[in-house]
Structures are given as C-alpha cells and as structure tokens.
Amino acid sequence: MFIFDQLRSKDIPIKIIVIFILCCFLVLVAKLWKLQVSTAVSFQDRQENQSVRAIRLPATRGNILDRNKKPLAVNRLRFDVHIYIDELRSLFREHYFSLKNGRKMNRSEQRRLGKEARYQVVSNLTMQVSMRIGEPLVLNEKRFHEHYEQRLYMPLPVMQDLSPSQVAKFVELIHSLPGVGLSVNPVRTYPNGEMAFHALGYLRRDDNPEDDQEVQFSYRYRMPDYVGIDGLEGIYDRLLRGEAGAKAIRVNNISYRTSEDVWVWPESGRDIELSINRDIQLAAEEALKSNGPETRGSIIVMDPNNGDLLALVSKPSFDSNKFISGFSREEIAQLNDSQLNRWINRASGSGNVAYPPGSIFKIISSIAYLEEGLINNPNKEIFNKGFFRNEQLYPNYSLDDTAPSGNYNFIRAFKLSCNSYFIHFALTPDGLTDQWRQGKRVLIDWGNRFRLGKKTIHPLQVSGYEFQSPLREGSGYFPVVGNEYKTKDQYGKKSRWAAGDVANLCIGQGEITVTPLQMAVMTAAIANGGKLIQPRLVLSVSSSNEDTQSNLRNIPSKVLGDLNLKDETVSLLHEAMLADVDDRDGSGRGARVSGISIGGKTGTAEKKVPTGKFNPKTGARLFRMDHITWFVSFAPVESPRYAMVVMVESGASGGKICAPIAGRVYRAIREVENSNNKEGAKLANR
C-alpha cells in the first residue's frame, strides 16, 4: 500500500524505524482504547463526581385539615433573601484590582487580598439590602468565608422570613442589586396556635430523614427539612412528609455554580382530613381554660353514631409553632414543668396516665344491676342514713355519702349520686345476706364488656394500607374476669378481694383507672343504645395522585361491639341522666343549656397523690388526697348527636367544675349549629 511500501524497503535502518514507529503507535492506540472505551465509565464517574453536587430537596408537607377543610396544620410561604455569589465574580475582580492598586504582591498576599475583596463586596451588598428593606443586617465574616469555602455552589442566606412589606420593598429594588435573589420556601405553621397540640403533635428539624427512595444519591447538601415527632405529625409522618427530590448543581473547578438540573422532583406529602370540628375544638379549649390558665384536664366531644372525635382537648398544652421558630427561656421552663406536664395527652392517656372514674362509673354499675336483675324494680326505695354501714355483715366497713339521708329510688339515687344505694346492690341486694362475690362478678363482667382496661382504637386495614391509631393511647386498669387478687400496693403486697373493694369499685374507686377516651366510648354507647364505637380522628387521606376527590381513602367507622342492652335499661338510663342535668336537685344541673336536652352524670373521684415526702419513722411514702372531677354527658337526649367527657384534675367536684364547662361547650355547639343552618339556608335561598 501507498504508505507501507517502506516495509518492503531494502534499506534496513529505514525499515526498522518504520516498524518502531508503528509499534509505538500501537501502544498509544491500545492505551487509548483502555482509557476511552474499556474504563471510560469510571472516568465519567470521576468527572461527574468533581463537577456535580447533589442537593436533597425536601417535599412539601401535607396539610392537616378539620372536617370542614379548615386548616389545622398547613404550610405558609416564607420569603428569604439570598446572594448568588457566582454572579458577583466580576465585582470581586474589580474590587480586588482597586484594592491592589498596582502594588506588587506575593501569592499568599494576593490570596488574602482576594478573600478580603470578596468579603467587602458581599458585606457591602448586604448593607444595601439592609438599608433598603429597613432591617439591620450584618454579614458575619467567619460564616461568609466558611460558606465560600464549603458551599460556594449554594446561595448565601442573608435574611430569613421577610414580612410582607419587606417583600414589597425588596421586589422594587431587586433589579438594582446584582446577585441578590428572593427565594420562597414552604414552612409548617399551625394557624390556631396551641389548639389541639396533642392531637396534631409537632415537628423537629432533621435534614437527614430516612428516605424511601429506591435511588439514594450521595448528597453534598440537604435543604432544611423537618420530621414529625409526636401526635399526627409523628405517627403519620411518612404520609405527610412525601418523597424528597434531588437536584444537581454543576460547578466549575473553583466550585462556582454553573448550571442546575433537577433529577427527581419532590413529591408532596398527603393531606389528612380530621374528624375535628375546629370551631367546637376552639370552644372546648376556651371552656376548659375558663377554669384557670393552669387547668389540667381534658374535654372530648364525640359523635355517638360514628365515633367521630369533634374535639379532643388536653390541657395544659403548647404552641406547635414554637418547635419551628424556637423557644424563649420561659417557654423552655414551661415545657420542663413536671407538675403541669404539657407533653402528655390527658384525653387519650398517653404516657399511661389514667384516672379513677368515681361516680361516672355508676353508669356501668347501673347497667350491670339492671341487666342482671339485681335491681328488678327501679322504683323500689332504699333508705340512706347519710352513710353506708352494716354492723352485722361488714363490721369493718363504712363510707360517708355526699347525698343527704332519706329514701332513694333509682332515678333519685342516680341524679344525687347516692353511694349507699349503689353499694347496697353490690354487696347485699336483699339487705339480709352477704353477696359481695356476686356483686364483684357482675361489676367486673360488665366493666370488661365496656372494654375497660383496653385501648379504644385499633389499627385499621383500608384498601391494603394499615392505618395506625392516630393517638398515643393509654389503657387504664380494670381487673380481668375471675381475678382473685388485687393489684400490688406500694409495699408490693398482694391481697385478696374483700367486700370493701367491691363497694369501692361500684362507685368507681379502688381497682380501676380509666382514660377520658374510654369514658367517651362508654357515654357514646349509652347515647346510641349500646354500641361500642371506635373513636375516629382521621376521616380521609388524600391520594398521592393529583386527582384527589375520587381517590380519597375514607377511613370507615368501626363498631367494636354491641352490649345488647334491653330497651328498658337504655330508656331508664336516659331518663336518669336527663334528670341529673334537668332536675332542680340534679348534681349536673350546672350543665343545663336552654333549648338542648342534655343527659349527664357527674363524678368526683379521690386519688392518692404522693406528696414527695416520707414518713420519718417508717420511711413510707406520704400521700395526700386529690380530686379528679368528671362530667360525662350526651345531647340531645331524644336523638343523640354529641357525647362529651369533661375531666379536670384537682377540681372541687364534678358538678361544680365540670358540668358548667360542659354547659359552655354545648352553648358553643348550639351556635356552631345555628350558623351552619344559616349558611345552609343562605345557600338554599340562592
């Protein structure tokens, strides 16, 4: 061939040189093949690695709305001012040369001057922004250099969270300043402040949450993100948080940003619609606070027909917004107050708090006596001496009664909360023989039928997805059927049941603690004629698809069990509970609201509270008596739509403290219903 003739040359040295050249080229070709074809991918990776910074983009958190789609936890837009340093490079250069002023400098002096020039340019720019939006801003020199050296590809944050007027001023001047930009970021906000704190929960800053993504990027930087810690925000965090996205920033050899490219768009979290009615919730919070700012207690309003929790109040509470904006010294002290303990949800008994029910347990006692035939004639009168004592049968037991002495039939005993009447049927229904074992069996049996000692909410399977209970719940304590021994006392001693324990149990003292949520389920069951309904807090979760309406996953209401009560029992109980509020001498009269028929039952339980002191001789813990006051109710009695539990710790009595609070809430509910009707009427008129 034309250029390989030399290989046939007779000139040996020429031939050798040609062969040598060809061999050397072959080596080059082989090495090039290895670099550019065989191992090209590894070099492409190295090239990506040094020029691309992966940034994690958190998704917008889903909203939490009330049953009328009013906002409970949503995202507001936060406006931040940033400086894009890469756009200032020519200014840096100009300023550098004007500072240098033609002087001769060595390398390190030049570097120092360059650093100074950069800081002065950016600081100057910050000053200009500061002057024009009327907010004192200072650029921290150390932080600036740190940002420059480590995160140059990211914009430099200058000011966060501008007020609307500052945004307006800023937008006017944005064109006159180089490299300054406004960024908009969603921030969690709770428009109602501390309302429903325990149900909603709170967030904590966490830039590195576990992601579900199949592809994990090795992020150089993570944009600020939050995870839910408690309440719905915590329990349904995976649904609310959505899926983070990823962005690639291409940088040049000195880390200046040159271009951006979104790899994966973040996928917003899902919206959750609650059963809460914001107006009722707000009214209930106000009503409970009317007892005093440091009231410890709870209010639950539930729909007895489907279990919807219309209000779930636990006090004292805290403002969820503070977990994002930060705490003052005082607020930290408030959070650490162990007496008030703001962390626990008293309504659902999170952290295993539970309370003796006191006289509201007489509702269950009544049903037990009526259903088992211990009371076969409710009109039969029993004489109350003003205290319970039976020298022959129970020489060691006596109990004072708050109800005055006199003759009591069932209704009167119920509305005046006569202890003697209820103890009579628990221990000796005929008044002659000791039958406390029968009383124990009946009461424990019925307490268990009401599912006391168990959590009220169970996980639900909805179209293949398991919904966890949205509340952290305590179970309280109730003895199991056939239980021989009582719970251990403070010395760890086990003792057998005695007649006195049964007498205590029938009036809601001793071997029993309950949560307000359990009492709400009980009250609802009385209201709806005997069905135990699982409380429902979450109504629906929006699908991740855009097409929300059709894809709402509705959480159905769930019946936990039917008590199969006789109609007579239900109507008698309704009558007695109505009398408790309506009658002039009823203990719950404080709850009366004109125009609504309310049935209720008061309770004032005694609870031993450790004083923190010890008996100097025996070393035993010293206790004082505290009161847990209750009022459970439902309305309207004819066709119940609301079941309500009000519980206040350290109150005076259920009738004096809790019943009026319930009355306030019912009045608020009436107003809410009226305004809804008006709106409905308005709509109808159109």
Partner: protein, 400 residues
C-alpha cells in the same frame, strides 16, 4: 491562473502529506477555539489564541513554501552557519534581561508582537547541521572521531536548553541524533555503547531522584523532581517526615498531579464518541487548567470532545505524516535528503509520542507541544518548516 497551476504541479505536492497537514491544522484551530472560547467575551480578536494560531499557520505556510522551493542542497550550504547562530541565540536567551522568563523558565525572546522560543528552531538547525555532517563517505562512519563529533553536536544544544530549563525539549535531541546516525550507517557497536551508556545514566538519575537522601541528590529543579515522582507514583514526603510536613507534601502532591489527573479524566471520560465540540465539561468548567488546555494539553480537549474516534483520527493523521516522511526518506535521491527526512520524522514522532504518552501516563509531564495542534508560534513555524523540508526532499529527488 494557468501558470499558477503549472507552478503548483511543478511542486509535485504529495496529496496525502497535504491532507494530513491540513487535517491537523483543522483539528488544531477548532480545538484551540473550543479550549479558549471564553476569551471572546473579554479579549480583542487579534489577542485570541484561535486567531493568532491561524495567523501562525499562514506565516508557517509562507515560510514553508520557501523551504520547499529552494533545493535542500542549497539550504544545507547554510547548515553549519545556522547551527552556530542558533547556538549563539541559545546562549543569549539564558542571559537575564535578554531572555524572557515565563512559568519560571528562561526560554523566550520577546519580539513585541510575539514571543520566540529559539529551542524550537534549534531542532531544525540541528537536523540540517547533523545531516550535512553525516553526508560523507560511508567509510568515515567507522571512525570513532566522526561519531564523537556527532555526539558533541547533539550534546551542545542539549546542555544549553537543559539550562533554561527545558528538560523535555532538550532530551528530544538524542533520539533525533540517534535515528539519523543509525540511518547514516554509524556502526551499531558505537550506537549500542552510546545507548547503553545513556540508559545507565538515565537510570542512575531516576534512582537518585526517587531514593537518594536529600544531601546526595543531583541538583535538579524542584519541579522536575516532582514530575518524576508523580510519574513513578512516589510519595513526595520523605520517610522520616513529620505529620505536618507529610500533610504539606500531600497537598503539594495534589496540586502537582492536578494537571495530569484532570488530563486523564478528560481523555477517559470522552468515551467512544466524545461529548461534542465545545461541550466538554472538563474544558468548559476549567477543571483542565485554562493555562495549559490550549497548548501542552490540547490532546485532552480533543479526546474529551471527540472521544476515541477523534483520538484515532488524530493518531491516523500523524501516522500518515510520519509514514509518508519515511517513504520520502526511502526514496530520497541521496544521503543528505534521506537524513533530513529521517531527522524531521524523528523530531515529529518524539513530540507526538511524548505529548500523547504524557496524557496517558506513559510518559512523565514535560512541556513538549503537539506539532501543529498545540498553540504556539515557534512550534507551529518549526513544524511547518520541517514538513516543508520533507516535501523539498520529495520534490528534488529526481532533479539532478
């Protein structure tokens, strides 16, 4: 017009040689433009590398025409004179105030319009002088005196250029000289002894650089030592260094290896097809340092943006050039023409192999340009003149 064509035919231009020449100049100008495209925002047109390179090509071709037309026998009449003139220039360039310092080396004369690097032209003058010297009866090749003289002619410019310092350029003289002596018929036992001796010398230098304690080192420039350490993948820090020294040494090593690391990434990441003209992030984003991308490291830019196929195209063009040169040498009418052609081929081959080999880590980093592709007036001019000499030898092979 007709007369021009007639004259052109008379030149008997080798079409394949012309094709490879213009192919290389096309690659050179296109990728110098790609490597320095940012310049168009700041600099005036005549200050841009691309424009200047095109001007150099034209000036080079003009000089080339002269070196084609004038019979190489007449040219070699001035061989010894030009050799000694260039030696004088190499001495002058070392004198502070006369020679210009760039990047820590005194290699240039400043002519106002452009810088001139005499070492580039020294190679040409050396080829002419040695070819002229070796064009004597082949019996004389067996005389040790002739051989020693030839070695001396090679060593003189080598030592002067080494002093600049420019180790890479200076070392090129030996392969050129050896190839020419080999073709001229210098006995193999002389050449063998010489090659053996210089290999041992090089080996000793390398061993000294890599392993000798500080007091025993030959006085090599710091950066030259570092380049050799980088090539042999050795730690900069000595074994008994303190942690602080070690850290400093590691940093220095990182910065010293930066260019070659980035060059390797550029070449490798080009892949089979490359990223397209002007699209290589290594070049565009400045990872491949802007100061060297358009000259010594132009092959990185080409292979990043055109991939394996582009690299093969460049290698093929050089292969055509070199093999064509050898063909011309083979068919030359006399020893002088043959030696001139072999000298030129050896010179171009050394540049190509050392420069591309450096990108592929086959060779240590040296400041040797890629003929016709790298930016630089002196290099372009001397390359074009050298190729003109090839054409000259071809043109006059039959004109007795």
């Amino acid at each position: 017009m007709n007369s021009f064509l007639m004259h052109f035919r008379k030149l008997r231009v080798d079409l394949l040689l012309g094709f490879s020449l213009f192919g290389l100049m096309f690659f050179g100008s296109a990728f110098i433009l790609s490597a320095s495209i940012d310049q168009y925002e700041i600099n005036a047109l005549f200050e841009t590398y691309f424009f200047r390179q095109v001007v150099f090509y034209f000036v080079g071709i003009t000089f080339g025409v002269f070196f084609v037309i004038v019979d190489y026998h007449r040219l070699s009449g001035y061989a010894q004179t030009s050799y000694w003139i260039i030696i004088l220039l190499l001495v002058l360039v070392l004198i502070p105030g006369v020679g210009e310092v760039r990047f820590g080396a005194r290699r240039w004369f400043d002519l106002g319009v452009t810088l001139v690097q005499p070492s580039e032209f020294a190679k040409l003058a050396f080829i002419f002088a040695l070819a002229d010297f070796l064009t004597r009866p082949s019996d004389e090749m067996f005389m040790p005196g002739v051989f020693v003289k030839a070695i001396g002619m090679t060593a003189l410019p080598f030592l002067l250029i080494l002093k600049e310092p420019d180790l890479g350029s200076s070392l090129v003289f030996f392969p050129i000289g050896t190839a020419m002596m080999f073709v001229a018929g210098v006995p193999l036992r002389f050449l063998g002894k010489f090659l053996g001796f210089s290999s041992v010398l090089v080996l000793l230098v390398i061993i000294n650089v890599l392993y000798a304690p500080a007091d025993w080192r030959i006085p090599l420039n710091e950066y030259q030592r570092h380049r050799l350490l980088v090539y042999f993948n050795k730690d900069f820090a000595s074994a008994d260094a303190t942690p602080a020294e070690r850290k400093e040494a590691r940093e220095l090593q990182r910065s010293r290896t930066h260019n070659i690391r980035q060059a390797e990434i550029s070449v490798g990441s080009g892949g089979l097809m490359g990223k397209g003209w002007g699209q290589g992030p290594q070049t565009r984003l400045g990872y491949l340092p802007k100061g060297v991308a358009h000259n010594d490291f132009i092959f990185s830019v080409i292979s990043e943006e055109t991939g394996f196929l582009g690299s093969m195209a460049v290698l093929s063009l050089y292969a055509i050039l070199l093999l064509k040169g050898m063909q011309i040498a083979d068919q030359a009418r006399d020893r002088l023409g043959k030696l001139l052609a072999v000298g030129v081929v050896a010179m171009i081959f050394c540049h190509v192999f050392v420069n591309i080999g450096m990108h592929l880590r086959l060779m240590p980093v040296t400041g040797i340009p890629l003929p016709l592709l790298s930016y630089g007036g002196s290099s372009v001019l001397s390359s074009l003149i050298a190729i003109a000499v090839l054409q000259n030898v071809k043109l006059h092979k039959n004109s007795y």
